[in-house]
């Protein structure tokens, strides 16, 4: 009987406590990420630069992502052409298909889809590698061998990510436009010359450039999240699995958010 009046209070305090826990957890995570990002970025600009590791990471992140990113772009370009045709044919505006394909690819879909694919491929692998190094004390071993883990493990990965994503996305843009062109001439009956002419007429420097800036930012986000989650993983195999998931999810969300912010910065009037 005496428990009855207490119940609403405990329910409210339980509710408030859960909000508080969430806020504290969020603040902790934000603070920890900031404390991680600061030295990590700083170390990218202080020698020695471990060029061999940067190169190996660039091959790992860029070159080995080419097949999956290229296929994504090819089919995205193809589907864009097909979809916009269905819409535009009603207004006799088929000529705008080239425009839609090239603008969508260079401004948005090229960088974002490449970013998401690379986040899945590379961010996960990075978190797993660093997480395993953490739980097997290899990161502690680095420190005891007078080697700063930020310098040796994280800075080369961040550098590689920022450097390699723009060229990857540029290639991705070309493949995407090619996908649209394939559909336009072989399925929708466009003339190849006219389609390409339309493409070149519409495209502006800023379209491509903004996409490449986005790519560099996404490269940073992917490698940062992979390194951060891996570096702070704990608790054996389960912890490493958790870190891998977190790396991909947080990178993907941050890519989509920062994509909006960057678009706003570049094109909002």
């Amino acid at each position: 009987m005496s428990a009855a009046p207490r119940e609403p209070v405990s329910l409210i305090s339980f509710f408030l406590a859960s909000i508080g826990r969430g806020v504290i957890a969020f603040a902790t995570a934000t603070g920890r990420l900031t404390l991680f990002t600061g030295p990590a970025v700083m170390r990218c600009f202080v020698p020695p630069f471990f060029l061999r590791i940067v190169l190996r990471q660039m091959i790992e992140i860029g070159y080995y992502s080419l097949p999956v990113v290229g296929l994504t772009a090819l089919f995205t370009g193809m589907v864009l052409a097909l979809q916009s045709y269905t819409g535009f044919v009603r207004f006799n505006a088929e000529g705008a298909i080239a425009n839609v394909v090239v603008l969508s690819m260079t401004r948005e879909l090229g960088p974002v889809l490449a970013g998401l694919m690379v986040a899945g491929r590379v961010g996960a692998a990075m978190a797993a590698e660093l997480g395993t190094m953490r739980v097997t004390e290899q990161i502690d071993a680095l420190t005891t061998l007078s080697t700063n883990p930020f310098k040796y493990l994280i800075a080369p990965r961040l550098t590689a990510g920022v450097l390699v994503l723009p060229p990857l996305v540029l290639l991705d843009d070309v493949i995407g436009v090619m996908g649209g062109w394939l559909i336009a001439i072989y399925k929708l009956g466009f003339s190849s010359g006219v389609y390409l002419q339309n493409t070149m007429n519409f495209i502006q420097f800023n379209d491509v450039f903004s996409g490449l800036v986005k790519a560099a930012v996404f490269g940073f986000i992917i490698t940062l999240m992979g390194c951060y989650q891996g570096f702070h993983s704990k608790g054996g195999a389960r912890g490493v699995g958790q870190a891998t998931t977190n790396a991909v999810v947080s990178a993907s969300i941050l890519i989509l958010v920062s994509d909006y912010v960057l678009t706003e910065l570049f094109f909002a009037r």
Partner: protein, 262 residues
Amino acid sequence: MSGPAPTAPKIRLRGVRKSFGAKPVLQGIDLDVPAGESTVVIGGSGSGKSVTIKCILGLIRADAGRIEVDGTDVTHAGGTQRDALLRRFGMLFQGSALFDSLPVWQNVAFGLIQGRGMKRDEARDIAIQKLAAVGLGPDVGELWPAELSGGMQKRVALARAIASNPEIIFFDEPTTGLDPIMADVINHLIKQCVRDLGATALSITHDMASVRKIADHVAMIYDGRIIWTGRASAIDSSGNPYVDQFVNGRAEGPIQMQIRNI
């Protein structure tokens, strides 16, 4: 020399405390590690042995207390001071912690190449020498850590720990997970390496065979405090019921394992 008296310890810990969340692990560790000798810290699992040496290395920050190396306070050393300090240390990790992305010789030479900027060829020669010192041939240097057995990994890790001729070497459970014969080989190598380098050694273990083989001094840690210290020869006549129970490996005694009664 106005330096410390000959009896001054190489490493001195006073009142070192560390908690993880609400759980206190170290509750005021006082420990002296004499220079040029081998000190072994014994204690059960979870008693804070590993945390103690990680605090000395700065891998974990102590919450309170004072850690001195050669009389210098290094409790809060960071940046270049910490780098300079760590250059004098070697550490053998419990799980060996070899870098699996590098071949064996580069593991051994890692501290020389990355930490000290030595030329690769020169570092490689030293790595081969150090591998020989732990009884491994130069051909092992070309293998990958994953291709080695546990005992061989431990030996490579030992070679890596002594590669830069450190003044102080830490051994974290050096014989855990090895068969008794390989454990004895490792103990023997540790004794030999420490003697050859004239280094100060601090080991943590719960393997009594290892203690009897490598220790000059023994300290027992229990519940986050050092409860007994003495010479290794005195360990069987310590008169301390905790030490007696541990040394003889009895389930009955003052140390109660937290096991739920069924």
